[in-house]
Symmetry: D2
Subunit: 330 residues, 4 copies
Amino acid sequence: MKRIAIITSGGDAPGMNAAIRAIVLSCHEQHIECLGFYHGYNGLINDEFIFLTPELVSPIIQRGGTILKSARCKEMHQDEGVKQVANTLTKHQIDALIVIGGDGSFRGMMALQSDWSGNLIGVPATIDNDIACTDKTIGFASAVNTATQAIDNIRDTANAFERVFIVEVMGRRSGHIAFNVGLAAGAEAILSFENCNLNSLEQAKSHLITQIQSQLLEQHTGFVIVLAENLWPKGPHGLQQTLKDTAGIESAVCVLGYIQRGGSPCPEDRILATELGIEAVSAAKNSTGMMVGKVNGQISRHCIIRATEQNKPVDQALHSAYHHMSKLNN
Amino acid sequence: MKRIAIITSGGDAPGMNAAIRAIVLSCHEQHIECLGFYHGYNGLINDEFIFLTPELVSPIIQRGGTILKSARCKEMHQDEGVKQVANTLTKHQIDALIVIGGDGSFRGMMALQSDWSGNLIGVPATIDNDIACTDKTIGFASAVNTATQAIDNIRDTANAFERVFIVEVMGRRSGHIAFNVGLAAGAEAILSFENCNLNSLEQAKSHLITQIQSQLLEQHTGFVIVLAENLWPKGPHGLQQTLKDTAGIESAVCVLGYIQRGGSPCPEDRILATELGIEAVSAAKNSTGMMVGKVNGQISRHCIIRATEQNKPVDQALHSAYHHMSKLNN
Amino acid sequence: MKRIAIITSGGDAPGMNAAIRAIVLSCHEQHIECLGFYHGYNGLINDEFIFLTPELVSPIIQRGGTILKSARCKEMHQDEGVKQVANTLTKHQIDALIVIGGDGSFRGMMALQSDWSGNLIGVPATIDNDIACTDKTIGFASAVNTATQAIDNIRDTANAFERVFIVEVMGRRSGHIAFNVGLAAGAEAILSFENCNLNSLEQAKSHLITQIQSQLLEQHTGFVIVLAENLWPKGPHGLQQTLKDTAGIESAVCVLGYIQRGGSPCPEDRILATELGIEAVSAAKNSTGMMVGKVNGQISRHCIIRATEQNKPVDQALHSAYHHMSKLNN
Amino acid sequence: MKRIAIITSGGDAPGMNAAIRAIVLSCHEQHIECLGFYHGYNGLINDEFIFLTPELVSPIIQRGGTILKSARCKEMHQDEGVKQVANTLTKHQIDALIVIGGDGSFRGMMALQSDWSGNLIGVPATIDNDIACTDKTIGFASAVNTATQAIDNIRDTANAFERVFIVEVMGRRSGHIAFNVGLAAGAEAILSFENCNLNSLEQAKSHLITQIQSQLLEQHTGFVIVLAENLWPKGPHGLQQTLKDTAGIESAVCVLGYIQRGGSPCPEDRILATELGIEAVSAAKNSTGMMVGKVNGQISRHCIIRATEQNKPVDQALHSAYHHMSKLNN
């Protein structure tokens, strides 16, 4: 293996830079050249790239975002786009492409397999943690940290005013962030896909109202509801209206939004990114169509198809802990 | 002076606890008793209080929120409520009441002056910094820190995606937070009451669009707009729609919201709260209807009427700095 | 089970309060009373305690330190002390004692087993992570975060001055903190018990000098050495002197020290503490001489003897990652 | 003015990059070229430089350290070195040199005045805040933040163990950091040049011991002493030994050290750096031998001689607040 290419693709996540750094330093040690293409697959279509050197990547382990930029790429859904990517890789005599991103990015990899003969390796990086075959994705721990600190702040006002707060967290269609942040922030209630679905909204609502009413009577504290994005009809403002209309409960809404995506990666994400980056280079030498992951403390490789198709539920231990800590589900 | 009462009132602000601590420790040194009433003026109406001791307040200098809780109080707008407050103060033989809060809280003080003969002292605490006669209010510096860190996070994504972000910050009807945060975060544009009003919205819009279009062409970075709350018709989503409809510019919206209100106060707020708390006790001995403040590094006392009625513009130096750093106003 | 007692013992660790909270809330749900004794075993000797209620513990999930205070206790090394502890537990009709602490604290538990018939359960909490039968101890992740942020700061000066820094981190006699922090901070070298012992000091020294000299020539950056405490003769200043005497290399020393022990626990520690606290209550009902732990994502129970006697090596993946990232060991 | 040069010199301080950014952006707006020389005056001696463009400096407002590196420069104490610097400036047709640094750096400026005819402007940046003619120097507020957060962490352990901690903070020979951090952290005692000198050490010692003994008896909390560096004979370990020998008081020592120098600058420092950077460019056009500063909220220019020679005492308000909060001085 003489030359590899790297892209970061899809939603950015803290630790993407640490992964780039690990890949480049690891390649440097093994005398492999690294080309970084910009803006995900778009950079491969438009032939925008940079030679990645140890000097360039050494200081980026602690930086959020991605020095290679990121983007979604519609062209990858069409044969024409995939072919252009393959052409660019062939033109630059790339032996392997390492894709740092989430499941959309990995589907791009799979599309590319039939048009390009080089090795394709995925490194799972998304704050949503919704990729199977790895306990955590790069960026997830940092997002949980950021969101928890934000709720710690909100908690001050919630307690000072003995008020109900609805805090929307990210997660796309999974509750990994919601459950971790909810437990860590000591949220009085967590509403996510795992404990609440379209059929049980009515039930969840009436439980929630009972819980709020009983706690506000008994204790003089705030009441924080962590709400997964894309769950409640019309989002947090929908829930706010429901609480008011049904039970006369006033509440305030916070949408944490993009602050969860950025910031300096926490040590856990930097270490995970370093380990997976090293493994990705190793995997790129003799395998393709694989995602590297860390399961039960072991670095491992997994068929990319499995990683994207398999469901990844929220830890049972978290559910169980929430069940004990909260009366919502009783 | 044998006994004072303290309330925290209106929106909570980081450093309120540090002010309570300073008042209590200062009183303790001078053998003055301290009663803390809960929930602002409501606690004075409902006679809910606690004796504040050095042991209780020693460890709270670093805590956000307020151990005395806070609330708005509608009853203070009516004679009946004001009389109840006066009765409670008289009943407990309070010599002076120290009110930690913003201008709404100070108007309550003024209403109370005719019904109660004790001394009334205000300590300015609000993240909005919209109170005259003090360079900064308690909580303002911490809110600026929190909002700036949040935008540092958003910047990572903005740059990775070379995307436009509209970030709404607090400030009620003033731009202190917007200008400080905008400059500190290196925002490409700041839209606030001071540089943009109902009559100039059209102009501001076309300037902004020109600026965005020219920068996105030239440089490969994100573009962050800091928007003061209550300024733009329909808020940040209104601006987002305007940018899209008028010029086809896509953007993402973040409303920082309540995270700006909480969190451990920064050293500047802790020190200001300590200095003003000490001065408040000193002022309570021989004056009434005064607010304590810090102007040009000097601790001072000001007629509460002036403090609430006078306008407090954003520093000219900030305007000027923004003018230099941004092409928006050129 | 009607009544349990809790102590926090040995070095404090972020997350101890979260564990107390989980135990108390879990007990409350099951109608079990909780007594918290102060200052570790000393509070059991001196009969100093408090009734722990949900109201008291609800807001402490985010606080560093321990509301039950901690201490070392010499009396527990003598029969007399152990008997006094047993007497106090019997006097208060305690059914089970939950000890939150490290291996010294667990040895106290074992000593107590012959003198008291109640159930004894250990919850592993120490920043050093040197307890077997749990992947991480409570407090470890927070300490790694704090130390990494500190080195991020030092890195700024190290790079600005292109200077060598020796940073001593905690860990007692293990390298968990050193390796995690070293990797996360992108340290140029890590010196710990695992890759350096008394017999290999000479070799480590000459490797280090070669590495420093070659890097400072090639690249214009700082050089950060993470050094485990208790490793190098005369500590970091000993190493500083050695570098100067042997090779004329100037360096600066930072001893991170106690800042690693405190601060608000990170979400990972809060969640771990919550899960282990709940499990401890469950275990206390029908078992004794056990430590609760989390291994490969599963909450589990382990004989306390095994937990204290077994060695807990630093993850092989970390060693391997460091090996790749650094030329020191080549 | 067509071309200016910038150096950062002496100890690095958070906000130096924000100052560089403001200077470069301001120059760009006015069509002035900017050369950045590396390693302070050494880069001017060795002719090491970079052209500074808006693209390069735009994203550095939030970064600690200095992209221009820093260093002390012995050669500037000798005529030969000064002449070499002058030659380099002449060779590159530099119209003005802006020096970002502390008083050592400004003395270099003064030495250069006789050998070079261009304009010389100083921007005060040092965490020590020991430069007159500006209320705060760039970096000071960030250092106070970092040190206060560190003591917040230490406080957790101090309180958990009811133990005495001696925490050494930076400041060279002034107590600005010590007093601000001490007040903000709620330190029980502050020992600095301003309230303690060689003649009064005995007295300070006996006061301190009395205070510790009385507090540890009365309250169950820790006792934190903030100690200015370079004050106590043999430093914090000397004080530790004294407390033990004289009164049998055990204590723990923390030397915060270099962590105070680095990290992302706080908003206050970023804004100050931006304002002073803009003013420096403006001043460089028509004046020389001046330092820019901010006094009572006004940006201003001051003769560099006055700035370096005048003493800058710690705020009287801080002394007075400490006096009230602590019994040490009574």
